[in-house]
């Protein structure tokens, strides 16, 4: 446990990476999501706000990392997601994986970020230069979905496509 966490302050990447040090590890793959100034064709993103359902989020995050450790031949994996207000260029999420060999390190790193984006209850509100703002995936999905029936049993995936 404690391989997935939320942070309200900036992330110390040197310390994060050091958690994965291991004399049998020859490969380290990492992914970072950075706040960018555009999203899904819309320019003028000024800043973001992340909100998390933390009690469930850390459980789901730990499950994802446990899955990666079971599926891939890796020696360690960690993930941190920021919450709160972020500016362009800020780190929003970090994933680090160590392994003896690079195939497993890359595959597990990709697995973790994909699953975190789909499964961990985190929401992103974008604030635009024109003064508008919106919850990503929710307002756009709503426009597409019309009155979506909430009572369908829900799987673990939806259709969001981001960085």
């Amino acid at each position: 446990m404690k391989r997935f966490g939320f942070r309200r302050e900036s992330v110390d990447l040197v310390a994060c990476r050091a958690l994965l040090a291991d004399p049998v590890a020859g490969a380290y793959a990492s992914f970072e999501g950075w706040v960018r100034n555009h999203n899904e064709g819309r320019d003028g993103v000024l800043r973001l706000e992340y909100e998390g359902y933390e009690q469930l989020g850390v459980k789901e995050g730990e499950r994802i990392i446990a899955e990666a450790l079971a599926r891939f031949d890796i020696t360690g994996a960690q993930c941190i997601h920021r919450l709160g207000q972020l500016e362009i260029g800020d780190l929003a999420v970090w994933v680090g994986v160590s392994a003896a060999h690079r195939d497993a390190a890359f595959a597990a790193c990709r697995y973790i970020i994909d699953e975190v984006k789909h499964r961990v209850p985190i929401w992103k509100k974008e604030h635009y230069a024109d003064g508008n703002s919106g919850w990503v995936n929710c307002e756009a999905c709503a426009a597409h979905a019309g009155e979506a029936p909430p009572l369908q049993s829900s799987g673990h995936r939806h259709e969001g496509t981001h960085a």
Binding site: G33, Y50, E51, G52, Y53, Q55, L56, K59, E60, H81, A92, V93, I113, V116, K117, H118, R119, V120, P121, I122, W123, K124, K125, W135, V136, N137, C138, E139, C141, A142, H144, A145, G146, E147, A148, P150, L151, Q152, S153, S154, H156, H158, G160, H162, A163
Partner: protein, 79 residues
Amino acid sequence: MVQIRVEYFAILREHVGCTHEAVSTPAATVGDLYAELDRRHAFPAVGRLKVAVNDEFCDWSTPLRDGDSVVFIPPVAGG
């Protein structure tokens, strides 16, 4: 009737105007509870919702028990 704590996040929190509320309800399932609260709050359409009871994902048919904590989960957008 059961006493339920409902927590709201993100677009639902902004829509309802609070982070949580205490609800006394005859609803038998979390789906019934959603329907009842939707009549009261007219939740925005946000695509497919998920739902959690006591900080675990669950089905909409999950029965409600007194003291449960329920969260309706709009489409997520981490990363």
